[in-house]
């Protein structure tokens, strides 16, 4: 375990103590303790900056399941560091913000911060893991912690709905990725991302390679809310605002972008990658910005705007793949898309984070986020207004803020690729710039909308649930830090170019670096009268006109029939799934123990007999059978007769006693065949279970004397006879032939050396197969809790006490 492992796991370890702190020190806001964690981590990760700038990478290995090639290997390069800094940096600001946002008296802070810290570990794990299975685990942990955070106000129905939606969609993507990992690791023989990259030549032509590519993209698209999976993000806005600012704009939704960037070296050579990533991205940009304009909820607008901005970065990552397809590597023209992607990723985190916090402030101080009720807050909340102005201007791409710079580069990238002769693009390459420009126009429209409707115009104090006033200073500091970054990056963009952007781009395009290509990251404010400049002018003009005429065309949005909307499809799918499963459930789960036993035994018989037949195992030898003693025959007779008698028993007490006889006789067999451990266990189990039976005896109704129909009885008799026959056949067959060497030898040889034990059974239980035991006791504990709850539940008449 290295320091880096410690850094990744630190938040989740600290989270164990949060509930205690929240309980012991109720007067101090729990957030102050939590704040220490991201601040510590951000300073730790900044130490790597000089290293990654000179192209160094840092790895540490912690063995986990070496036999399966699953080790917790951390890998930090420019890309990983960029994300780690985003996670911990924005994380610190969000925690600070949440201290003022969440009321210590009204909210269950312990729960909130446990989830948040869990999420932080999950995100750091995603961006710093080299092993794909470990990456997958952390990936799903982000889905789970996000689910918990969205459902934080779980008494609201919308929260639960949103949480379920995000979970279903993102976990679906995660499972697709697991499939992709399985394919990729089978092809390359390694679970390490770097080793897969190294063995790229041998696996690239394989037919399943593109299947893995699509599966990985499914994961990335669901997580980063790309069309058509974007529908979960607006519903996720039911989460508390600090969560929206953190997960749904700055970090988790960017995990999909991270995945695309991280796997670019492996997949980007395929033209399918270029097509899928860039087209899905550009369409998401267009669709998200189009829909943002029709929202009334501030956070709703920001959610759709996030979708469209994620689409923008996604399309840039796709266009950047073009860099691998041209021979002229040194002109740096094709790498500009990737540079723009990384640059915009940073910019988006700064301006969108601040805008979400601003929306939270407005909500907190006025009681509503509906832009139809807001207005004229500029005099009352001047600082919030400044934050909103800078944030939205940057988002709209207006100079001198950082969003302008990355949007210019975006346009350059789009024009560059559309104009090239790659992949037969010229025939329909014009679609890309058109969608990009239309998307940018609508971005401009909703950006104006946010500021104009919230802070200017007429005040409507009568519609607000609270009397508005400026937020406390603590709540303003985090967004102020972010907007000052917006301004600083806008004015001096090149402080980022060598520190963060170039190392990250080099990690995404190692092929270019290996070929000796130079990655040129020099961001300038003024390009001269290039096509980009005129496009920007076009965007501003058309956007302004559209904004002015908004009331006239806004009703167009309502023309779209509800039935074709994706949300409607999602709900219908969910409803149909529920109906089908209810139908199946009602036919299979009858509520009678005997039905279940019929299924279980029926399947056992069919499976084993088919397997025996299939492996041609019906061969029985008589010679290995040792001589049978008289007392064994007697025991067998007792066993058989007691078992048979149970079926004729008229009272429960008799059945219990006869069952006990069967159990003890089996224990005697164990004694005879020298298995003291088994005998001991069997004896104690029998004793305890008979005692249990006697305890519940009072509560059970009399055995119903209702006579079952004869065919039913015959069916049962047939099944039990078949089960008996199957077990006998298995016993005889396994005695007669040995397909495999016995595993016992290994244990006999190693018990003393490896585990320093004498009792093989126990050593197997606690050491060789300790995992089995761990899960067994977990099942046992769950069963115990289950019984406890069921009985308590019945006693209280279904009321939760």
């Amino acid at each position: 375990m290295s320091v880096m492992h410690g850094a990744i796991l630190l938040p989740i370890l600290i989270s164990l103590f949060i509930p205690l702190l929240a309980k012991r020190l109720p007067n101090i806001h729990t957030g102050w303790f939590v704040l220490v964690v991201p601040v510590l981590l951000v300073s730790y990760f900044s130490h790597f900056l000089p290293g990654t700038m000179s192209g160094e990478t840092f790895t540490a290995r912690m063995p986990w399941i070496p036999s399966l090639g699953i080790d917790f290997v951390t890998y930090l390069d420019g890309l990983g560091l960029l994300f780690a800094l985003l996670i911990t940096g924005i994380g610190s600001l969000v925690v600070l913000y949440s201290i003022f946002y969440l009321d210590a008296k009204k909210e269950s802070l312990g729960t909130f911060y446990v989830y948040l810290l869990m999420f932080m570990t999950a995100m750091l794990g995603v961006v710093l893991s080299d092993n794909m299975i470990v990456l997958y685990l952390f990936w799903e942990l982000t889905s789970i912690s996000s689910f918990l955070l969205i459902a934080y106000w779980y008494e609201r129905e919308r929260s639960r709905y949103g949480a379920q939606k995000s979970m279903l969609i993102t976990v679906f993507g995660g499972l697709a990725m697991l499939g992709g990992i399985a394919i990729l690791s089978t092809l390359s023989g390694s679970l390490s991302i770097r080793e897969t990259y190294a063995s790229l030549e041998s696996i690239q032509g394989e037919p399943f390679f593109t299947v893995a590519l699509v599966l990985f993209l499914l994961a990335a698209f669901t997580k980063s809310a790309q069309f058509p999976f974007h529908i979960w993000l607006p519903d996720a806005m039911e989460a508390p605002t600090p969560v929206s600012a953190y997960l749904h704009s700055a970090t988790m939704v960017k995990a999909g972008l991270y995945l695309v960037a991280r796997f670019s070296p492996i997949f980007a050579d395929e033209s399918l990658w270029f097509y899928l990533v860039s087209s899905v991205g550009i369409f998401t940009l267009f669709w998200g910005s189009l829909n943002a304009v029709k929202q009334h909820d501030l956070k709703g607008i920001l959610a759709y705007s996030t979708i469209s901005q994620l689409g923008l970065i996604m399309s840039l990552l796709g266009l950047g793949a073009a860099a691998l397809h041209v021979d002229a590597l040194d002109d740096g023209l094709y790498t500009i898309a990737t540079v723009a992607a990384i640059f915009h990723l940073i910019n988006h985190a700064t301006f969108k984070g601040s805008l979400f916090m601003m929306a939270g402030i407005v909500d907190h101080e006025t009681g509503t986020r509906d832009i139809r009720k807001l207005g004229g807050l500029a005099q009352l909340m001047p600082i919030s207004m400044t934050i909103a102005m800078i944030g939205t201007l940057s988002m709209a791409g207006i100079p001198p803020f950082n969003g302008f710079l990355s949007k210019e580069m975006f346009l350059t990238g789009v024009l560059e690729v559309a104009g090239s002769d790659l992949f037969h693009l010229p025939s329909y390459g014009w679609i890309i710039p058109v969608l990009a420009v239309v998307g940018s126009i609508f971005t401009f429209v909703y950006s104006i909308l946010i500021v104009r409707r919230t802070f200017f115009g007429k005040r409507q104090d009568d519609k607000l649930p609270k009397t508005p006033h400026e937020a406390p200073i603590g709540m303003l500091i985090p967004p102020l830090v972010l907007v000052s970054l917006v301004v600083i990056i806008g004015l001096f963009p090149n402080i980022l170019s060598d520190t963060l952007i170039r190392p990250a781009v080099e990690a995404i395009l190692p092929q270019v670096v290996d070929a000796g290509g130079k990655i040129d990251v020099h961001i300038t404010m003024w390009h001269g009268f290039q096509p980009e400049f005129f496009l920007t002018l076009l965007i501003f003009t058309v956007g302004f006109i559209l904004y002015k005429t908004l009331p006239r065309w806004q009703s167009l949005y309502n023309r779209m029939p509800r039935a074709v909307s994706l949300n409607h499809q999602y709900d219908a799918l969910l409803r149909r799934g529920e109906q089908t499963s209810t139908k199946i459930h009602d036919t299979v789960m009858t509520g009678y123990m005997r039905s279940y036993l019929i299924y279980i035994f029926g399947f056992i018989v069919i499976l084993i007999l088919t397997a025996l037949y299939g492996f041609d195992a019906f061969r029985f030898a008589v010679d290995p059978i040792s001589s049978i003693h008289a007392y064994e025959i007697i025991l067998a007779l007792v066993l058989v007769s007691s078992a048979l008698s149970i079926t004729f028993a008229r009272s429960r007490l008799t059945s219990i006693i006869l069952l006990g006889v069967t159990g003890y006789t089996v224990a005697l067999f164990f004694v005879l065949f020298r298995a003291p451990d088994l005998a001991l266990t069997q004896l104690v189990i029998e004793t305890v279970s008979v005692a249990l039976f006697l305890l519940v005896f009072y509560h059970l109704p009399e055995i119903s004397r209702k006579e079952e129909r004869i065919p039913f009885k015959l069916g049962n008799a047939l099944i039990s006879a078949l089960v008996g026959l199957t077990v006998t056949l298995v016993a005889l067959a396994s005695l007669s032939q040995r397909s495999f060497t016995s595993i016992a030898k290994y244990y006999i040889d190693n018990v003393a050396d490896l585990a320093a034990g004498g009792n093989m059974v126990n050593v197997i239980l606690v050491d060789f197969r300790g995992f089995d035991t761990l899960f067994e006791i977990a099942v046992l504990a769950l069963a115990g809790i289950g019984i406890y709850t069921m009985i308590k539940f019945r006693q209280t008449g279904g009321i939760d006490k």
Binding site: I65, V684, L692, N759, G770, T773, I787
Partner: protein, 146 residues
């Protein structure tokens, strides 16, 4: 309530035998637990034997007496057992070896002499506690539900 009054048998022989036998069983359980690594026994069996001793008390007296003698919430014992088991298994990670790697060594202890100590024993303690906890949770819940 009526049922309970009828159930209580006030069997003097059973009660006095129980108070003695319980100790023997309990000691046997402890022996089994510690013997586990070399001879038949271990956490699972030890736990079950302990539970059976407690069941004997329950049968001879009643649930209130049992609770007076051992005022535990057995759900917590289950949880404690799980925690010990998981922590033992993950403790290995701190030494940069895979999850669940056990360590053992020989120590010379006062009274016992040269003894081998295993982390496997700690894991077994977790198993023991879970088994006792679960069995007693079930029995107690059923016993109380009249």
């Amino acid at each position: 309530m009526k049922k309970q009054a009828k159930k209580h048998t006030n069997d003097v022989i059973l009660e006095s035998a129980t108070s003695f036998i319980t100790f023997v069983i309990f000691l046997f359980a402890v022996y089994l637990f510690f013997a586990g690594h070399y001879t038949p026994g271990g956490g699972f069996i030890g736990g079950l034997v302990t539970a059976s001793a407690l069941v004997l008390i329950l049968l001879a007296y009643d649930i209130k007496t049992l609770r007076r003698i051992l005022p535990f919430d057995y759900k917590w014992i289950t949880a404690l057992g799980m925690l010990i088991a998981v922590l033992t298994a993950s403790g290995a990670l701190l030494f940069n070896v895979p999850f669940f790697t056990h360590a053992h060594d020989y120590f010379t202890l006062p009274l016992f002499g040269k003894t081998s100590l295993h982390t496997a024993m700690l894991f077994d303690l977790g198993v023991y506690l879970v088994v006792v906890g679960v069995t007693m949770t079930i029995i107690q819940t059923i016993g109380e539900s009249e």
